[in-house]
């Protein structure tokens, strides 16, 4: 059966293979972008289903397990199962570790495993850097291994065709694969700086690949069991027939590898990414607890049968690592071989995509961005818009990580050393386990201990496993391997302290974890953690029973106005403003500036850490807020406070919150009332002044005209003109007052109709040009977003625009006055921002500018009676919208918001504004 059909595989040309791959990759692109699109449109419920979550976990099964497991089984029997049994136990026991890990990760907006460790141990960036470096050094060879397996599978496929010259150039294939994957990861992994660092497109593509690789392996397995062999019974017989003495289960390796893979499923950066970072719901974990072990079960079910059939049928000396591919090929099943090829391709690509994404996030959040911030701070320069920076750093990091992987592959040349790297990487990332477990279960674990432990463990791993894995004389000389470092026999890499009974892998695992844990514990026993560490420790360990408000901020010293620009730089303008507004509302305040309470700072830090990691977010806020973070005394105070609070019932607690909110509102209302009563007096005397001033001229000149003998006709005419002008001024003032009164009492007749916003803005700009016409006032606007069909009272809206524009012309004190008009649509509301480049409005005046007669300066140069903005606000409330002052935008910024379509009922139910409420 084998001989003649084998030649047929030659018809499978290299080009066809490449085309298939390209087609597959295009499909993945389509799937990912469809997922991104529906996530952006908020239709992503099914995207976030437990099934997709479970499938995305399959990045655990890399090409190393897809191809390598069969080779492993051919060489060592059942031992390959350890790699799947460890994860099975972890997931079956999800209630113990994973549930807590996922909850902590989500509630703290953790972006990577380095971020997790750094956040738990006092938001220490040092730990972040150590973990990142460890992960990169373990991950890069692993990525190289995937590139190798893809290149190898290409070569196997096209082994005897004419196109071998191209196919044989593995470096060439590896290069293009790496480049393609970098492109994919950048496209879907760094599309935006997401709040939770989640990537629906990537997850979806991974899920598809998970299905493909499972189907491929199952298909080859079914083929081997039922078509090549005669069913399960036959296969079992063949297994026993093929069994070798080396297939004996070795107790040490069996136990050790199960533990190692159990640790790895938690600590591998890519697994942490899909398990914790991309998780949206605890319920998904409940499903994955059985579904993922089932997936692993199915992945390994046919491994041994394929290995046995391969050993039996394939010619002597075939590489068992490629049986999954070569077996169908050998038996002339080109279609099956192609499917199997795609399965291996999926396994490799999904691993590379997620791993490079996870590593890039760590590199950018823990190394590049902090360094950059520090450099900026040293130069005392502004940090500018952070978002673009962080994104570019991410992109660059992805390219770098893949580039490293490729270079590593080229340098090691696909040697046998690379094949062993899977388990070697496992031991590397296992060094994160002690501090991670400490983070979850031990409040006394300290940063010093964690840093010491990981460093010691990593150094031992490097010396006893990673460096020797390159082979003697590559990095470590053969002499060091034989006689130990500096000729000290107890320092031999494979038998530290004369331990010779263990194989190198277990030897390294034993020593590195033992000393890691020892250093971790000793460091924690002997050091005294900083208050933030203790706060974070309590927060993490007691995540399920929240002992009370553990805070990392007290006595804040900053102004909300200083924090808003910082936030905008990271979250973007509108998101940042929205967050501030929502927080202010939570406190029962209006506007964009919440009180700087510890709670607010905490919420803000959490929000920021979703984008740049906990350590960086904390450092950035600390820079702005000052060093007024928590002290030990504060902690004690909080602790006793907590004890007291525990005595109250939950209702009382809710009530007291309600009370403090009411109190805050009352305090605000009271302040407003006091200001208002002062204003009321001022209002009367203002009215008096505004009325008497024109009256004085009128009376004086009319008396002059009454006694007009000896006056020239010219003079008489001039005086009459003055009387006329002043009476017009009087009329206008009365009109304004009446207008305001009508608007305030909601008796205004609105003239609602369709209009184009752009036309209204055009008209307003023209109308306001006459104010101080000699000033060159530059207006920048983007006409496209202004093209919004609105239904409202166009005349009234224009009146508001004109008023704002004229005010800017009058009051903007810049030498080169400019006005930026930007339009935005959100939730059926239109927002028009008018921002000038003047000095803005001082903080203490911001609350008053919309009140009657509140001219900011005493100067009369401006003309009007100070009713303009008060009228504007009344108009906007009548139009179902609002006008607000947005602080911290460089100059004065007025935001006019109104519904796209004003329905008559909305207009009727105009919200009572604040001072009206207070006055009643």
């Amino acid at each position: 059966m084998a001989g003649p059909t084998r030649r047929r595989s030659a018809t499978m040309s290299f080009n066809l293979l490449v085309l298939t791959c390209l087609g597959y990759v295009i499909l993945l692109f389509a799937v990912a972008s469809a997922a991104e699109r529906s996530a952006a449109e908020g239709r992503a419920r099914w995207l976030r289903s437990p099934v997709i979550y479970t499938l995305s976990l399959s990045v655990y099964c890399t090409a190393w397990t897809f191809y390598g497991a069969v080779g492993y089984a051919a060489r060592s029997g059942l031992e390959f199962m350890t790699i799947y049994l460890g994860p099975t136990l972890v997931f079956v026991g999800w209630w113990v570790i994973l549930r807590k890990l996922v909850r902590i990760g989500r509630e703290n907006r953790v972006t990577s495993i380095a971020d997790m460790i750094s956040a738990r141990y006092g938001k220490s960036n040092l730990l972040g850097i150590i973990v990142t470096l460890l992960c990169v050094s373990a991950g890069t060879p692993y990525i190289a291994l995937q590139l190798q397996s893809i290149a190898q599978s290409f070569t196997v496929f096209a082994a005897d065709t004419a196109s071998t010259s191209l196919a044989a150039d593995r470096n060439f294939i590896a290069f293009w694969v790496a480049a393609g994957l970098a492109l994919f990861t950048i496209a879907f992994g760094t599309r935006n700086l997401d709040v939770n660092e989640q990537h629906p497109g990537v997850v979806m593509a991974i899920a598809v690949e998970a299905v493909v690789k499972l189907l491929a392996l199952l298909a080859v397995g079914v083929f081997a069991v039922w078509i090549v062999a005669g069913g399960p019974g036959d296969i079992l017989a063949r297994i026993d027939a093929q069994a070798l003495p080396e297939w004996h289960i070795q107790p040490g390796r069996w136990t050790g590898l199960i533990l190692l893979s159990a640790i790895a499923i938690i600590c591998l950066p890519r697994m942490f990414q899909v398990t914790v970072v991309e998780n949206t719901d605890d319920q998904h974990l409940a499903t994955a607890s059985w579904a993922f072990p089932l997936y692993l079960f199915l992945m390994s079910l046919f491994v041994l049968p394929i290995a046995v059939v391969g050993l039996e049928i394939m010619p002597e000396g075939s590489n068992p690592d490629m049986f999954v591919l070569t077996l169908p090929l050998h038996l002339g099943q080109d279609g099956l071989a192609l499917l199997s090829f795609l399965g291996g391709f999926s396994a490799a690509t999904s691993m590379v995509i997620v791993a490079s994404l996870a590593l890039a996030t760590m590199v950018s959040n823990h190394i590049v961005v902090p360094l950059w911030l520090k450099a900026r701070a040293a130069q005392k320069r502004d940090t500018g818009d952070m978002r673009l920076l962080v994104l570019s750093v991410r992109r660059l990091s992805i390219a770098l990580v893949l580039g490293f992987g490729y270079i590593y592959y080229v340098i090691t040349g696909g040697s046998a050393a690379l094949a062993a790297i899977g388990l070697i990487a496992f031991v590397g990332v296992a060094q994160i386990m002690p501090p991670l477990l400490g983070a979850l279960f031990w409040r006394g674990a300290s940063r010093t201990g964690a840093a010491l432990g990981v460093t010691v463990g990593t150094v031992i791993w490097f010396y006893t496993l990673f460096l020797p894995s390159f082979g003697p004389d590559v990095i470590l000389s053969a002499r060091v391997m034989e006689e130990g470092l500096l000729g000290l026999a107890w320092l031999r890499p494979y038998s530290l302290y004369g331990l010779t009974t263990l194989d190198p892998l277990l030897h390294s695992l034993f020593w590195s974890l033992l000393l890691n844990a020892l250093a971790f514990c000793l460091g924690s026993f002997l050091s005294f953690p900083s208050p933030i560490e203790r706060v974070q420790g309590a927060l993490f360990v007691d995540i399920f029973d929240r002992p009370g408000p553990a805070r990392s901020w007290t006595r804040p010293a900053a102004e909300a106005e200083d924090l808003l620009p910082v936030t905008q730089r990271i979250l973007g303008q509108s998101e940042g403003q929205q967050f501030f507004r929502a927080q202010a509302e939570l406190q029962g305040k209006q506007g964009y500036l919440p009180d700087i309470t510890p709670e607010f700072l905490e919420a803000l830090e959490l929000k920021l850490s979703g984008s740049v990691g906990a350590a960086t977010a904390h450092a950035m806020l600390a820079q702005t807020v000052g060093t007024a973070v928590v002290s030990v005394e504060d902690l004690m105070a909080v602790a006793s406070e907590t004890a007291q609070i525990m005595e109250y019932s939950a209702q009382l607690e809710a009530k007291s919150e309600e009370l403090s909110r009411t109190a805050r509102k009352l305090r605000e209302a009271n302040e407003m009332l006091q200001k208002l009563s002062v204003q009321k007096d001022a209002f009367l005397s203002q009215i008096s002044h505004e009325l008497r001033t024109p009256m004085t001229s009128i009376r004086a000149f009319s008396e002059i005209l009454m006694d007009s003998e000896g006056m020239s006709a010219e003079e008489q005419h001039h005086f009459a003109q003055i009387i006329h002008d002043e009476s017009i001024r009087l009329t206008r003032l009365l009109d304004d007052l009446l207008d305001l009164s009508v608007l305030e009492h909601g008796q205004v007749q609105l003239n609602i109709g369709p209009a184009l916003l752009r036309d209204l803005i055009d008209k307003s700009i023209n109308a306001s040009n006459s104010v101080q016409a000699d000033r060159n006032f530059r207006i920048s606007r983007n006409r496209d977003p202004e093209k919004i069909e609105i239904v409202t009272d166009a005349g009234r809206l224009t009146q508001v625009f004109i008023n704002i524009l004229s005010n800017a012309r009058k009051y903007c004190v810049s030498d080169d006055p400019q006005m930026r008009i930007s339009v935005r649509q959100r939730d059926g509301m239109v927002e028009v921002d008018f921002t000038d480049n003047g000095t803005g409005i001082p903080r203490d005046k911001q609350a008053l500018i919309f009140e009657k007669f509140s001219r900011l300066t005493d100067s009369m140069q401006a003309g009007g009676a100070g009713l303009g903005l008060a009228i504007c606000r009344e108009i906007m409330l009548n139009l179902g919208g609002d006008i607000t002052y947005v602080p911290g935008q460089g100059g004065a910024c007025f935001r006019v918001s109104f519904p796209v379509e004003l329905k008559p009922c909305e207009a009727a139910q105009k919200p009572q504004h604040k001072d009206a409420e207070a006055a009643e």
């Binding site: 009376r699 002059i704 003055i722």
Partner: protein
């Protein structure tokens, strides 16, 4: 020689009216809209009479009055204060600071002339 009166008033129409009626009665009238600048002019050449508005941009009328009363050459200068606010508080403040006369706007032209002549003599 005609007596000199200085009018400090920021409403141009009101100061024009004052200039007209006073100069028709034989006064030499100087007008200033800015308290600060007027203070300087007064130091070099004090007028015979000062007519002062309360609501002025920058330095208020009360501020001007205070420094007039503190100044070396202007301590005894007769001052007529005009206000459009018409509140008792303003009158009290003007008296406290040493204004010679106080009138609310709008005023009768004849009253102004009478007051001025009463303060300085015809």
């Amino acid at each position: 020689m005609a007596k000199r009166v200085l009018v400090i008033e920021d409403e141009p129409n009101i100061s024009e009216a004052l200039r007209f009626i006073l100069s028709r009665n034989g006064w030499q009238v100087d007008v200033s809209a800015d308290g600060q600048r007027a203070m300087k002019e007064m130091q070099s050449a004090p007028p015979d009479l000062l007519i002062l508005d309360v609501m002025l941009p920058g330095l208020s009328g009360f501020d001007v009055l205070r420094s007039v009363r503190a100044g070396e050459g202007t301590r005894d200068l007769p001052v007529l204060m005009l206000t459009a606010k018409g509140q008792g508080a303003d009158r009290a403040e003007a008296e406290r600071l040493g204004a010679t006369r106080f009138m609310t706007k709008p005023f009768a032209n004849a009253e102004v002339i009478a007051a001025v002549e009463d303060m300085v003599g015809p």
